[in-house]
């Protein structure tokens, strides 16, 4: 029974009491109602709201005054690697996760530590992606999905472990890095492991007891719809991870999850469409039933995980409003879809970075056709653009509903070369079947003057309004605010920047101690608006830097080490 799993003196917990807690108001429990309509002063979930807009309606900090933005406090996490989590804020309490599954609870106004939870991870763990993307809040609890594949529930006020449940066995290549989704009384998570021969799934747990409510695989078992798209036993080790938080439409009671690559990497190892790889899937929040899907590209052979959850956006087309969703794909196309109770329809799509694989898109279904010379296979090396990190990897795009602009953190001018080899499945070993490309595997297009981009698109007209460019590659998650600003780091020069949302002009920047791949947020306390972000370079941003260095014969170095940074306008406290 899960009730028996409650053990308070678990070895993984380090907690410190602090005077900071005494200065804080009583904890404000996070109800379903609050999650459905988060107060502008708070940032209660991964993207701030269930529609994944990454938007704050706070406007005290605006294009006119952002140049005065100053550091209020910072806090060193003491850890290396990719600090990707947003600071989640609930009325003065801030919760931040780090690599190695620490959770820090801080006084959001002062940066004083309230408690710290540090998970002791097993010695034989492999971490291909040493990161974590944040907590979920529900009731008076904090939830984290761990890299050793547990879901844990902590007391929001003390950091005490209330329960932990094994979601899968890390030894077989399952792990978790996403922020859980709290909705409908449940805590939902997906599993990583697309490089390890897992069978991906999304699972939901009762928020109070930790009891499993449902579990839906991303690869159908034989006999289930879609199973014909996997040959033989390949469904058992076909990958299709889910490693980013889903969106949620409470009216339809549907959660929308992006799914990752099939395994092994080259599609000829698993001939067929491979449902539901590289797709968006709609799961009923109550039952987990898979109600609809749209596959962005079939038989993935480029490691183009489409794990970013779509932004739920109602957009205009031909004079009418479509209840839709928008997805800047890792495959380099910007997808507009129609979301209904039992179907996801294709609206339109076009490339937002140079893409040389698709030769056409079926106007009815959205199914792409391929230039097969660009499709890697076993013993067949192919060059393709964008690179295996895609036009946009995991860093989330943001949307300003007032101005209708979508902001995409993109990478242009980079390509990959892949060749497959026969892969033998061994539990707990990589199962990519990736061979050694004879050109190093990473290419920069000739004449390229930049790589990183921040793009602004009008979702109603389909117009690209502006694009800011960076010499560096870009791994920066985006925050949009009602102050007509966009915030993003992501470049190897360690800067955190504020952009004019209308023009893309850089209005303010701050050099942090490491590169920023953390999700920025905004919140307010006692009427003062704050912008918060973690810096802490690592994981794939570091890997891509290594690849760029190799191509350019350079040795550019980005320092590691995590810190939380909180900014605001100069402020005179009330007497």
């Amino acid at each position: 029974m899960f009730g028996k799993m409650k053990h308070l003196l678990v070895c993984g917990m380090l907690a410190w009491g602090s005077a900071a807690a005494r200065d804080l108001p009583p904890y404000h429990p996070v109800s379903d109602e609050r999650l459905l309509n988060p107060e502008p002063r708070n940032w209660l979930m991964y993207r701030g709201s269930y529609d994944s807009h990454g938007y704050s309606s706070l406007d005290q900090i605006d294009a006119g005054n952002v140049g005065q933005l100053e550091l209020v406090w910072s806090f060193a996490t003491g850890l290396r690697e990719g600090h990707q989590a947003p600071p989640i804020v609930n009325d003065g309490y801030m919760y931040v996760t780090t690599p190695q599954n620490h959770v820090l609870a801080l006084n959001a106004a002062t940066g004083e530590l309230i408690w710290r939870y540090a998970r002791f991870l097993p010695d034989d763990l492999q971490q291909m992606h040493p990161t974590n993307r944040g907590v979920a809040l529900y009731g008076e609890r904090v939830y984290m999905a761990t890299v050793d594949a547990y879901l844990i529930s902590l007391d929001a006020l003390t950091g005490e472990l209330i329960w932990e449940v094994p979601v899968e066995d890390y030894y077989n290549g399952y792990y978790m890095t996403l922020a859980p989704l709290a909705a409908d009384g449940k805590i939902m998570v997906g599993v990583s492991g697309g490089e390890w021969g897992i069978r991906g799934f999304v699972a939901a747990y009762d928020a109070m007891t930790g009891e499993e409510a449902w579990k839906t695989y991303t690869i159908p078992a034989p006999g289930e719809p879609g199973s014909e798209s996997w040959p033989g036993d390949s469904w058992q080790t076909g990958g299709v991870p889910v490693w980013l938080t889903g969106s949620y439409d409470p009216e339809l009671n549907l959660t929308y999850w992006g799914t990752g690559n099939g395994g092994p990497w080259t599609g000829d190892a698993r001939p067929g469409d491979n449902l539901y790889a590289t797709s968006v899937i709609a799961l009923d929040a109550g039952s987990g039933e898979l109600r609809a899907h749209h596959q962005y590209h079939w038989n993935d052979s480029w490691d183009w995980d489409e794990v970013s959850a779509p932004l739920l956006i109602d957009f205009e087309r031909d004079g009418s409003t479509i209840r839709g969703m928008v997805h800047p794909g890792r495959n380099g196309y910007l997808w507009f879809l129609d979301r209904g109770p039992d179907a996801i329809g294709f609206v339109d799509a076009w490339p937002y970075v140079y893409q040389d694989v698709f030769t056409g898109i079926d106007p009815e279904t959205g199914r792409p056709e391929y230039d097969m010379s660009k499709k890697p296979g076993i013993d067949y090396q192919a060059d393709f653009c964008p690179s295996l990190w895609g036009g946009k990897d995991w860093p989330p795009a943001a949307f300003n509903p007032a101005t209708r602009l979508l902001f995409i953190p993109a990478n242009e001018n980079v390509c990959s070369s892949l060749v497959g080899e026969e892969a033998r499945y061994v539990p707990g070993r990589t199962f990519t079947g990736r061979g050694e490309a004879d050109n190093g595997g990473f290419l920069i297009r000739e004449g390229a003057e930049h790589i990183g981009e921040l793009q602004a698109w009008n979702v109603d007209t389909g117009e690209e309004v502006w694009t800011a460019t960076f010499e560096s590659h870009n791994w920066g998650p985006v925050l949009a605010t009602a102050g007509e600003l966009v915030f993003m780091g992501g470049t190897n020069d360690r800067y955190f920047r504020a952009f004019d949302a209308g023009s893309g002009e850089i209005l303010w920047r701050y050099p942090t101690s490491s590169g920023i791949t953390g999700v920025p947020v905004s919140f307010a306390i006692d009427g003062r608006q704050y912008i918060a972000v973690q810096s802490g370079w690592g994981v794939d941003a570091e890997r891509e830097q290594n690849s760029i260095n190799r191509v350019r014969g350079a040795s550019f170095y980005v320092p590691q080490g995590g810190s939380i940074w909180v900014f605001a306008l100069p402020w005179e406290p009330a007497p």
Partner: protein, 188 residues
Amino acid sequence: MTGASSGKLSRRSLLGLVSAITVAPQLRAQPPNRMRPQAGDELVFDDGPSLGEVVRPNLIELHARPVAALARDPASGVLRDGSRLNRVMLTRIDPEELAPRFQANAAGGIVAYSAVCTHTGCDVFNWDEEQLRMACPCHESQFDIYDGGRVVGGPAPRPLAMLPLEIAGGAVRVAGPFRGRVGFQQAF
């Protein structure tokens, strides 16, 4: 499931409880397949064309792509496959070129390095045949097979642990425990 209420020894439960104060002494006993390679163990290929065969020097060519192997207790026949920290990668080097301080760990030119990267614990399965470096697919750390697994690229903080070898009865055997710490260390 976490082990707190389970009397049965499983790998997960043991990992969850190794440092919990309530663990009964008998739960701490390590089954022989989880023990690190012991002096006198033979080695068995864990991958490649000779999968399952006893490792003999003539089965590994000079500068061959490193191949995974596991230790096996010749007396009991127990294969030490209970922990991935037990896995080693084997290749053959030119003994005269091996850094002197590591020569005692090689046998007939065969060297064995831990398969587990010291950065974040991934298997070091890649191979740079031009530079003769073992490499990790996760974060591209590289290790010099001629210098005790010294880090020559990427984020790994420490060399790969080396497993001393000897040749007995025509087979490659373990001569002693790992030299160096196996696996990665959680920093904080």
